[in-house]
Symmetry: C2
Subunit: 431 residues, 2 copies
């Protein structure tokens, strides 16, 4: 291939990203605690030559009536999934607000050994008070404080991964197991953390597991620009994807770094015909209890909308700068309202799967067209696929869309590399 492959990432979430997916009669609702279910998803993505599978994470149970949210813990689940696969990358979210850098560095390094160099870390600062109140905080620390901690956290984790030189291990049976001069303390005594190091895990196969970020706020984008090696984005349409792409790559360049692969979230409904694809979407939408969706929307917009009129236009919302919650998704909602002037019911339908990420509904060819347009017109280097229903939507995508992308020379026919870093075209960093 002349151009590098686009990047495809499977974002695993319960029975699928559509909130009603578990309600389908054929759903795997009963298998959410069965690691075999997740292993099979990873193998499906690997058959589709995806770069990686990815778990988001949260530290509060949430609305347990509304569907499976969290179940298995990502780091432990990915350890098992690493052994059920051979090539595909494995990315775990780890919160800088709730972990210590030593735990994070150690577990991710251990997983990089277990997976032989296929591990990635999605750095988040977490958002909800309910999560904070499971980890000794009375409420979530303010945004600026979380990001200051995240910055120091990332630097500390990177230093711990670098604390063992690549050539530290000697295995010299008449001498040293490892050379103490090549295993150095980091003596980090910062504002948030005291970590002497060195790590108690030798240097990971990738040098450093790949650092992902999904910066949406100004501070988040700057953190991503300084540290992220790949970025998850939220983009409702190509135009907002392009805006985000330009802004992030400018910040990355300002930080003196080469361009970073950016992958917007993408919900796809694939059918042999446009009508079949739409029928699939409708089938899931019809499983959706209205109350559930209203609760979710209330969370997204930071105000109670449970008594709004379902078939009236969505009322005016406060401008982005007045919103104190997570800004990325809120901006998307404002954009949908501005562009489509939807009724509340229509907006709920839009948000039911993927919470306002881009949705493509159509034939394998029409979806490939659209993905190609995003990549060629500077909106994306690939996509973070958020299948509305699992496993069916990802099987559809891998079996029907991937071959079209491959035929067009847009996506790899097989893995050329053995590490996540390799799939993403990233250099292995020196210690």
């Amino acid at each position: 291939m002349a151009t590098p492959s686009m990047h495809l990432n499977l974002f695993i979430m319960g029975c699928g990203h559509h909130r009603a997916a578990w309600r389908h009669p054929d759903s795997a609702a009963e298998r959410m605690g069965d690691i075999g279910y997740y292993e099979a998803l990873a193998r499906t993505a690997e058959r589709g030559k995806f770069d990686a599978v990815f778990f988001a994470d949260g530290h509060a149970a949430g609305n347990v009536a509304g569907g499976p949210l969290w179940y298995l813990e990502p780091l432990t689940a990915l350890a098992a999934m690493a052994r059920a696969t051979e090539r595909i990358g494995l990315i775990s979210t780890v919160s800088s607000t709730f972990y210590t850098p030593f735990h994070a560095a150690r577990m991710l390094a251990s997983l990089d050994h277990i997976s032989a160099g296929r591990m990635g870390w999605n750095l988040v600062t977490s958002m909800f008070d309910a999560e904070a109140r499971n980890h000794n905080y009375t409420a979530m620390p303010p945004h600026a404080e979380r990001y200051a901690r995240a910055e120091e956290f990332a630097n500390t984790v990177l230093a711990l991964w670098d604390s063992w030189a690549d050539d530290a291990l000697r295995f010299d049976r008449n001498g040293m197991f490892a050379d103490p001069d090549r295993v150095r303390p980091i003596n980090h005594h910062g504002e948030h953390f005291l970590v002497d190091g060195p790590l108690n895990v030798p240097r990971p196969p990738q040098g450093r597991p790949v650092l992902f970020q999904a910066g949406a706020s100004d501070q988040g984008r700057d953190l991503a620009a300084r540290h992220a090696e790949a970025i998850y984005a939220v983009a409702y349409d190509l135009e907002s994807a392009q805006d985000y792409y330009r802004d992030i790559q400018a910040r990355v360049a300002a930080a003196g770094r080469p361009p970073v692969p950016i992958m917007p979230g993408l919900v796809t409904y694939v059918g042999a015909t446009e009508e079949e694809a739409k029928a699939r979407q409708r089938e899931l939408d019809e499983l959706l209890p209205t109350q559930d969706s209203l609760n979710q929307l209330s969370q997204f917009i930071g105000q109670d909308c449970s008594d709004w009129e379902l078939d009236a236009p969505v009322p005016e919302l406060p401008p982005l700068e007045d919103f104190t919650g997570p800004k990325g998704r809120y901006a998307t909602i404002l954009r949908i309202i501005e562009c489509e002037r939807p009724t509340l019911r229509q907006l709920l339908g839009r948000l039911a799967a993927g919470g306002g990420h881009c949705t493509m509904v159509g034939t394998p060819e029409s979806i490939a067209d659209e993905m190609q347009r995003w990549v060629e017109q500077g909106g994306a280097d690939g996509f973070n696929l958020m299948p509305p229903s699992l496993p069916s939507s990802i099987e559809d995508f891998a079996e029907q869309v991937v071959p079209v992308l491959q035929k067009r020379g847009l996506f790899r026919h097989d893995y050329a590399e053995r590490t996540l870093r390799g799939h993403l075209g990233l250099e292995r960093p020196g210690a």
Copy 2:
């Protein structure tokens, strides 16, 4: 079997518990980061019908020249090992000083789902300043403070495991995924922790993963008496094992609980003849770098022994009351000298493999005799095997000693249960 099976546990540590094991030409020194090595050990123990495999843990790199200490992180390694085995229990050490209860409860619950009910937790408070200084402490908190935190930690973890009722999950496609009335917050606002709960993992298959402890100090024994469902012990000989056993079971009874299985650590060298077994021990002892061991012994006994004759008996040492350094290890050294009359080389070897734990050297029959004596005379309910060399010592034990124990009706011929709780004869707790 009329009497219940004794319990056997494989304590996995690097290339073996003998500090020089990695120096053997055939050792797996190069495979310490290869999860396949640990999976194979777990499968060997499973072929031997062991109750469980077990990882200790530490949070500092230690002396990296002297041999592999830590490498893979236990929780991530055990997730993979769970998928390489079907019946054997999997026990991870998790420190109450360095984790938050929510992380611990969540990861262990996740692993209990991944392993379908085979997970155990060895609760420790950790010991070393070098570990504390990787987790935001300037030094290890005092003993009493660590144990107060551990007590609250254990109670919080147990409450989180109980926060989902056994019947909370409904999978009702026209109603609730889980019943919010059966998923309750714990609202723990204690001295050390604020944890509202509920956990974000449904109730583990075992109800609660099995809680192990290894209380040695007075406070540690009391913590074990209140919480431990199984106990690891350190006993040099049957007499000290009996003392410990009586003391712990009395404390357990005083806490109003049924007797708890106690498993002392055990180092074994097995041979077809007594001489062959001794030769195996000697082979490992001779791999010890003499100068390092002599320096260490000099420190332990408070006098320079670098010019002592290696193959002559150890000279008389001053009595315990005249020794001004740390008394615990010195007492063990005096006891070994008194009971075994070792040469200096033999003493160095004894200290290099298992420290003050019991060592049995002999034929399968003589070792089975001795194990039987410990179990029948109230010193143990089973053993935590600390193979001096891995995988060879555990292969020897599983293939040669286990059949003798089975023939005598002292150990199970096959698993009768599917959970760790089942192997240990423990009831599944209600929520």
